[in-house]
């Protein structure tokens, strides 16, 4: 479990990093927190010819308020998100989910952008980016662009980013008033990747569901939204039977597979339970807020 040899570049600016990546297209990889990349190197699952370390680039780890929402710099550590007051106020669902991202030691190093770029379907940040309709900003040799989360995650561990593109910042747009959230995850042990996870937000208009969003992790090649279940909820009064029904619908929309920890059938069952629980909790919070 020792990596093969690679060249190493420590970039001091985004442009320097982009330049380095462009010089070895397809061969160079960005090193952020290293919590996913280093194990892959050590297992020799990845053989990059060059690592471009972005940890010394100043200013790309900021968490900033923006127009009622927040902007999270790619290098913001999981732990920084977990303890950020501004996130706790605006997106408490992130604060809650952060506790599920690995263990403290991993959260101290791993980065928000690294997790989204790595695009593990069972990881928390990608599924939340999808839930919150995040705007993912990237910079490459051709300049900067913004990619909506819905278009970002293409297949298993694969994103819309180009070879020499760097994810720079993620914008989470403000949530409407009367919106509550629910986050439900089941893993074998605390800190493990989810067997299944469901995040939901519900916006109420009186007792009626004005809008609902559901995002599922660990039950497909990418994080998934559950458009059918979301449609089913919209415009209906929030109640237990409806949430149960939405859970079943979301389960149908999930696409899990078997692995050593659980079968696809069980994961699908989990989606229905966790969706119901997440929606129930989201609706309760929405009613209070």
């Amino acid at each position: 479990m020792k990596p093969p040899a690679f060249d190493y570049v420590c970039a001091r600016s985004l442009d320097e990093a982009i330049d380095a990546l462009g010089r070895r297209p397809g061969e160079a990889k960005i090193l952020a927190g290293g919590q996913s990349l280093t194990p892959m190197l050590n297992f020799r699952l990845a053989h990059p010819g060059m690592l471009v370390d972005i940890n010394r680039i100043p200013g790309i780890d900021a968490i900033r308020d923006d127009d009622g929402g927040v902007r999270i710099g790619t290098l913001a550590r999981h732990r920084a998100i977990e303890v950020s007051d501004s996130i706790r106020k605006k997106f408490p669902i992130l604060t809650a989910a952060a506790a599920h991202v690995g263990h403290l030691a991993i959260r101290n190093r791993g980065t928000f952008g690294g997790s989204i770029a790595h695009a593990d379907p069972a990881a928390e940040w990608p599924m939340l980016a999808l839930l919150l309709d995040a705007q993912i900003e990237a910079k490459g040799p051709q300049g900067a662009r913004t990619i909506p989360a819905r278009e970002f995650f293409t297949t298993f561990l694969t994103t819309a980013l180009g070879d020499a593109e760097i994810l720079t910042e993620v914008k989470l747009p403000a949530l409407p008033a009367k919106t509550g959230w629910g986050f439900e995850e089941l893993s074998r042990r605390p800190g493990d990747f989810a067997l299944a996870a469901v995040a939901a937000i519900v916006t109420l208009d009186g007792k009626t569901i004005k809008d609902a969003r559901i995002s599922m992790g660990g039950v497909g090649g990418t994080p998934l939204r559950a458009p059918g279940a979301e449609a089913l909820l919209r415009g209906k009064p929030a109640d237990a039977a409806l949430f149960e029904q939405a859970g079943k619908k979301a389960a149908e929309e999930s696409d899990p597979s078997n692995d050593v920890h659980a079968t696809a059938d069980y994961r699908r069952h989990l989606v229905s339970v966790l969706t119901r629980r997440a929606l129930t909790s989201a609706a309760e919070k929405a009613a209070q807020g």
Partner: protein, 818 residues
């Protein structure tokens, strides 16, 4: 007045345990002829002297060793479960700058005999087939992870690059993966010369089992599949081998539990003089049975250092540890239990099928797993009619061998879980059916129906104590109330008797010549009264430097801190068998006590001579040798030591010097315990949380109760691993799927509940010092306690249903009711 034969100690829950109501029971117990000391170093809960340096990282693990000119070794391992090696081309690897040497099986076999265990005669009814296990595979590989070549290079990175450059032409063969299919005729054979895949077959019979079953009101049956798992110590295996021209010999540092055996086997395999090999076991970061073997890697590095004449290092990485070192405890058990409607157990039939993987490990052979399960399965219960069958079946999987508890977990799971099944069938409470059948202290000694001599134990007393500590009746009320609120709580009991030490007679009876049940201690007192203790056992976390020092202090009157502890260096320590099988407290401790006695006798002779009194009139008191009842007339230990070693003021017919050795043929004492778990199950997801956990334990006289508690707690953590997390899985082609700790799950501190311990102390009548072993029971008893608790929690939803496979992942639990 003699002290009570049973002393109750209860850490954490001191008050609760002391107020237990069964003192009448204790008083009724016949007193053993044994003086239970009331105070002193033997029995004191002193902190471990060795811990501070570990806590600040002042350690000597193999990984940290640096020798001049040291090279690194990496192994190419088989990617196939079963395959022919058509050809190996190492030229590209050798051409890589930094690669020094590549060794393949064809070359190694000429100079290194394969590992092999012969087992011909035995007092047990066993039919065993040996096989050759080469250090490096020759022509054929029999499991994923088997060594195919060794690459020596300037560093580990280059060695692994070299491994990637070796070109092997493989011819994959069909693999035997399922042990039950492996028993069918006409399939693939792991070892063709056997004619089948059965490594060991054994029957253990007692009483008239068919007759007993005819009398039964109810017969319950089950199939219980244990999970293949592994010891996964924090430090994997690791070896440094160094040919030393000055010595014309080699030194091998290895992360082992048995340094002397390792030396003997390297000498035999390489045909190299044993006295020119020095094996050193440095600090070892966990072993749990995995490290009590001679390993191919140890042989390969020894051979290679003789070739390259430079020091070589190999440190097992986690992936190698998970697929290339040994697995364990992969048993399927079929069981039938015959009971009467009043709960009386009439008879038991079991068949253990152990999937033991590809080769015979040395010195145990993997077959001890199912064999021991079959011997131990009746547990602490009065069962007089049994038929227990054991089969060790070879498959194309990683070799399986001994790991904490060896066989007992399968036995324990089977007996304790089927007992609850029987209780559910006849509508009896699980505590009640146990109280009805379990043995009590006055039933001992007794020879079990499977032929084991139980010297002494307190199963009923331990059960009652555990029920009291968990507040059993109150829990049943709490459970009722919780159910009304949609919360599913359950309670599960697991009572066990624990074979410990595996002493001299045990191995004589087994007839396995590769291992013997004695151990050794040597004591030397210096002129200033300092003591050097060298032993043949091997501490790798069990607290020997402290516990043995307590025994020495007790035996010769010195202070614990006056004892220097040396182990694990074959050049400096007496021959011994290392540490495994809950043996060191009894075998090593017994030797230490006996050697201390010899020293004490000599001290008394010398002091008597100098003080002009009779040695019979002397006693050890407050660190002095004094005339009984005359505190003024005494000599300090140091004065006696000076007189004996320095100035040689010894009686005319005595030698100067204060040294003694003892080689102790250890007995096989039995400890016992009861575990009770309380769980909460989320029936919708199957997610289970252990809320409370109680262990009551009787391991004879405790040398250090704090260490006993630590052994139990660590054991329970591993038992929870077996119960809920750990599982090596393979696909149909024999490919292992669990080669990282992301897929092979071990419990973390967040998964282990707080525990409460209660202690009973029944001095062992057959061991020196009244000591019993207790190192493994903690890991053995948890799975059925947890399974019984889960089944109990879910009973209102779908009736009481046994859980037929481990680990109890959320999915397995959920499937109990859906």
């Amino acid at each position: 007045m003699s002290p009570p034969a049973l002393r109750i100690r209860c850490a954490r829950q001191a008050m609760a345990a002391r107020s237990l109501p069964f003192s009448p029971l204790i008083a009724a117990r016949p007193q053993k002829e044994f003086e239970m000391p009331t105070a002193g170093p033997f029995g004191a809960a002193v902190k471990r002297v060795e811990d501070p340096r570990f806590l600040v990282g002042q350690t000597s693990f193999v990984e940290g060793m640096v020798l001049p000119n040291m090279l690194s070794v990496a192994f190419l391992r088989s990617p196939y479960a079963h395959a022919k090696i058509r050809s190996i081309d190492v030229s590209k690897a050798l051409a890589l700058p930094g690669v020094v040497r590549v060794l393949t099986g064809e070359e190694a076999i000429k100079r290194c005999k394969p590992i092999r265990v012969e087992w011909k005669e035995s007092k047990f009814e066993v039919d065993f087939k040996p096989c050759d296990y080469p250090a490096i595979a020759v022509e054929r590989t029999r499991h994923v992870g088997e060594i195919v070549a060794a690459v020596v290079a300037e560093n580990r990175y280059l060695a692994e690059d070299g491994v990637e450059l070796i070109e092997v032409e493989w011819e994959p063969l069909p693999a035997v993966v399922d042990p039950e299919k492996a028993l069918e005729k006409g399939g693939t054979l792991v070892h063709e010369e056997w004619g089948d895949n059965v490594m060991l077959h054994s029957h253990i019979r007692g009483g008239d089992v068919e007759g007993a079953f005819r009398q039964a009101d109810v017969v319950v049956k089950g199939r219980f599949a244990m999970n293949r798992h592994c010891a996964a110590p924090m430090e994997g295996r690791a070896v440094v081998a160094n040919y030393d021209a000055a010595q014309n010999g080699m030194t091998v540092w290895t992360s082992t539990q048995m340094p002397h055996m390792v030396r003997t086997k390297i000498a035999e395999a390489l045909d190299y003089p044993e006295h020119r090999i020095r094996v050193i076991g440095p600090d070892v970061g966990g072993g749990f049975g995995l490290k009590c073997h001679i390993f191919p890697e140890e042989l390969a590095l020894s051979l290679l250092t003789l070739d390259v004449k430079r020091p070589l290092k190999w440190v097992e990485d986690r992936r190698e540890n998970l697929y290339g070192s040994y697995h364990a405890k992969d048993d399927i058990c079929y069981a039938e239990l015959a009971v009467k409607n009043d709960g009386t157990i009439l008879g038991l039939k079991t068949k253990f099928i152990g999937d033991v993987g590809a080769y015979t490990s040395y010195p145990w052979t993997p077959s001890f797993e199912p064999l021991q399960a079959a011997m131990a399965v009746p547990g602490p219960y009065k069962i007089h009619h049994v038929h227990c069958e054991a089969l060790a079946v070879a498959t194309n999987k990683t070799t399986s061998s001994v790991y904490r508890g060896v066989g007992l977990p399968a036995a324990q799971y089977t007996m304790e879980h089927i007992l609850d099944l029987a209780a559910a069938k006849i509508g009896m409470d699980p505590a009640e059916i146990r109280r009805k059948n379990i043995m009590k202290s006055s039933d001992f000694p007794v020879t079990s129906v499977t032929g084991l001599y139980y010297d002494s134990a307190t199963p009923l007393e331990s059960l009652d104590m555990a029920l009291e500590m968990i507040k059993y009746p109150e829990f049943r009320k709490e459970q009722e109330a919780a159910r009304k609120q949609g919360k599913y709580l359950g309670i599960g009991i697991s009572a066990m008797i624990e074979m410990t030490t595996f002493g001299f007679e045990y191995w004589r009876a087994a007839g396995l010549k590769s291992v013997t049940g004695y151990d050794s201690a040597h004591l030397r007192v210096d002129p200033n009264g300092g003591v050097t203790l060298t032993v043949g056992t091997f501490n790798h976390g069990q607290g020997h430097p402290t516990a043995y020092a307590q025994l020495v202090a007790d035996g010769i009157g010195c202070k614990i801190e006056d004892v220097t502890f040396i182990q694990g260096d074959t050049q400096m320590t007496p021959y011994g068998w290392g540490t495994w099988g809950s043996r060191s407290a009894v075998a090593g401790g017994g030797a230490v006590i006996k050697a201390s006695e010899k020293i004490r006798e000599k001290m008394f002779r010398v002091a008597a001579n100098l003080m002009e009194v009779s040695a019979q009139d002397l006693e050890l008191k407050d660190g002095k040798v004094q005339v009984k009842g005359v505190p003024g007339k005494s000599m300090t230990i140091r004065e006696v030591a000076q007189a004996t070693v320095y100035t040689a003021d010894v009686p005319d017919d005595d030698e100067p010097g204060l040294e003694a050795s003892y080689y102790y043929k250890a007995p096989t004492p039995y400890a016992n315990s009861t575990h009770i778990a309380v769980v909460e199950v989320d029936p919708e997801t199957g997610y289970t949380k252990i809320l409370r956990y109680v262990v009551t334990e009787d391991c004879g006289r405790m040398i250090n109760p704090m260490i006993v508690d630590g052994q139990i707690a660590g054991g329970v953590a591993q038992g929870i691993g077996q119960a809920m997390f750990e599982h090596h899985q393979f696909d149909e082609s024999g490919q292992i799927l669990t080669t990282s700790l992301m897929d092979y799950l071990i419990p973390s501190c967040a998964d282990v509940p707080p525990m409460q311990f209660g202690h009973l102390e029944t001095p062992c009548p057959i061991s020196v010092g009244g000591i019993k072993g207790m190192g493994e029971g903690g890991a053995v008893a948890p799975p059925p306690a947890i399974a019984n608790a889960i089944a109990d929690a879910l009973a209102p939803l779908a009736g009481w249903k046994p859980i037929g496979r481990l680990p109890m992942s959320p999915e397995v639990v959920r499937r109990q009711i859906a």
